[in-house]
């Protein structure tokens, strides 16, 4: 489903954020990406979405080499991937409802389907009451949950989440994790960058650890730290 082959990324200012990384993620996998702050987790995710292009190497998503994707094709790649961004990226002048509905309008979904799916999804992430609010009227954790709702509303085959629980209290975070596991059980590939040691240690899924742009560990049923 997702495959990186000798991928390196150097930002224009000279920062080498990814160094010759190769890895494979199969359909239906649930993968944690961990690593210290600034190790390159977000860079990896940005490259999967073609927000950044690798300096060298090949990235294959859904059997397509996305480094060679034409500009016109990029939106269709992104529609395959539901994404929770680390900085949320909610549309500031749309309400919670419209923000989530927008993701469905983009793929030209049926309005009836939109009216059905949006409230259901908002309910799943526990933010249904706030559907009329604008992003600036929400708390940090509430914004994060709206971003998650938007990522899952289209039932995309891939779900990428960059710190989806960073602003949530442990209880809410666990509810979100249960939701992600449910989604994963329905066959969706989930890639999640996280710092939550407790969650990683408890769930025992595949863990990819990045340090300074290099994959230093890739273990099935791993914990947050090497020793676990």
């Amino acid at each position: 489903m997702i495959s990186l082959q000798n991928v390196s990324k150097t930002y224009p200012n000279g920062t080498r954020a990814m160094k010759n990384v190769s890895l494979n993620i199969k359909k239906g996998d649930f993968v944690f990406v961990v690593g210290s702050s600034g190790s390159g987790k977000s860079t990896l995710i940005k490259m999967l979405l073609k927000e950044e292009d690798p300096t060298s190497g090949k990235i294959i998503v859904n059997n397509k080499d996305i480094t060679k994707l034409k500009r016109k094709q990029v939106p269709y790649l992104r529609r395959e991937i539901g994404t929770v961004f680390q900085d949320f990226r909610l549309l500031p002048n749309k309400t919670v409802y419209d923000n989530v509905a927008f993701a469905m309008q983009v793929v030209e979904a049926n309005p009836k389907e939109i009216r059905r799916a949006v409230p259901v999804t908002l309910g799943l992430v526990g933010i249904a009451k706030k559907f009329k609010c604008y992003p600036h009227q929400l708390s940090g954790g509430e914004q994060q949950r709206v971003a998650l709702a938007r990522a899952i509303v289209n039932d995309s085959p891939i779900l990428i989440a960059d710190e989806p629980t960073g602003n949530l209290d442990p209880e809410t975070a666990w509810e979100i994790m249960k939701l992600l596991q449910d989604i994963n059980k329905r066959g969706v590939t989930v890639v999640m960058a996280t710092h939550e040691k407790e969650i990683v240690d408890t769930l025992r899924k595949r863990v990819i650890e990045i340090d300074n742009g290099v994959v230093i560990r890739d273990s099935c049923e791993g914990g947050y730290d090497c020793e676990d």
Binding site: T83, L90, E108
Partner: protein, 299 residues
């Protein structure tokens, strides 16, 4: 670019909503378009009136052909018909000896002197000849010189001078109008650029979610066209009101002076300015938004 009808409807709604959601920027854009088009309208009105007045003056500058006293009264009509047949002649008016004397005594401060001639009028009869195109005066004169019974008098210097002046004024007003349109385009694309710059984050986010270029662009273009339309309609009414008022004032105050010279009617001005204003307004709204959004779509 296959889009479903409901998507189109949705995008139009987004575009119209966008005008309200971005009130400040919409007002700025509409204001800029209105102000530029009003300046354009005023320049256009001035230029087209100057042109109109000059062409009236031009058609009043004519050739005087004095008729030899030997020509009999009944030959005059034949002669007049012949002169009227000369190419580029637009009108021939006969001025009899009596008419000439009356005009002369009327005009001059020398009444006393002229009284001596009352019995034996020394002034000749004449034809006043006007032309279609003043630049062709030379040819008309050549034709006239074939008639020995006519002595021709014309403003040798003034005619080409007037043509030159007229050309220069047309030229200058063209330059002013074109510069104004350019100024307008620059100001408006600046405003639109700023508008889009403010919303670049929004555009980026849409792209990251998987929206196609057209899905993002359409509301902006619809917004741009609507803003251009509003900005194009207002100057028409403003010019209508202002020009009617100016005409009224001019007609009531300067009738004595400009008896023979008329200004263009409100209808003339508006029938030329309306399509100009609408096309420029909508065109700039649409093109401006397409151009300024382009750069932010590349993410």
């Amino acid at each position: 670019m296959t889009v479903k009808i409901r998507t189109l409807r949705h995008l139009s709604k987004e575009g119209i909503l966008g005008i309200w959601e971005n009130r400040l920027m919409s007002l700025a854009s509409i204001g800029t378009i209105v102000l530029c088009l009003i300046i354009l309208g005023v320049s256009f009105t001035l230029a087209s009136n100057v042109d109109y007045i000059l062409s009236q003056i031009e058609s009043n500058v004519g050739i005087t052909a004095y008729i030899d006293d030997s020509v009999k009264e009944d030959e005059i009509t034949t002669l007049k018909t012949k002169l009227e047949a000369i190419p580029n002649v637009s009108g021939v008016t006969y001025v009899s000896k009596d008419d000439a004397f009356l005009t002369f005594t009327d005009d001059s401060n020398l009444e006393n002197i002229m009284k001596q001639f009352e019995k034996d009028n020394p002034l000749p009869a004449s034809f006043e000849i006007t032309m279609v195109d003043l630049e062709e005066q030379e040819r008309v004169i050549e034709s006239l010189e074939q008639y020995d019974e006519l002595e021709i008098s014309y403003f040798q210097a003034e005619a080409p001078m007037l043509v030159q002046l007229n050309d220069s004024i047309r030229y200058i007003s063209m330059i002013i109008i074109i510069s104004l349109i350019l100024v307008g385009i620059i100001l408006m694309s600046n405003t639109i650029k700023l508008t889009v710059y403010i919303r670049r984050r929004e555009i980026n986010i849409m792209k990251y979610i998987g929206a196609t270029d057209w899905f993002i662009r359409a509301p902006f273009i619809i917004e741009g066209i609507s803003i251009g339309l509003i900005g194009g309609i207002i100057p028409i009414f403003a010019l209508w009101g202002a020009y009617s008022w100016v005409l009224k004032v001019v007609n009531s105050r300067f009738t004595v002076m400009i008896e023979s010279i008329k200004l263009q009617s409100t209808a003339d001005i508006l029938s030329a300015f309306t399509p100009m204003s609408l096309i420029i307004g909508v065109g700039i709204g649409a093109i401006g938004s397409i151009i300024s959004i382009r750069k932010h779509l590349k993410v």
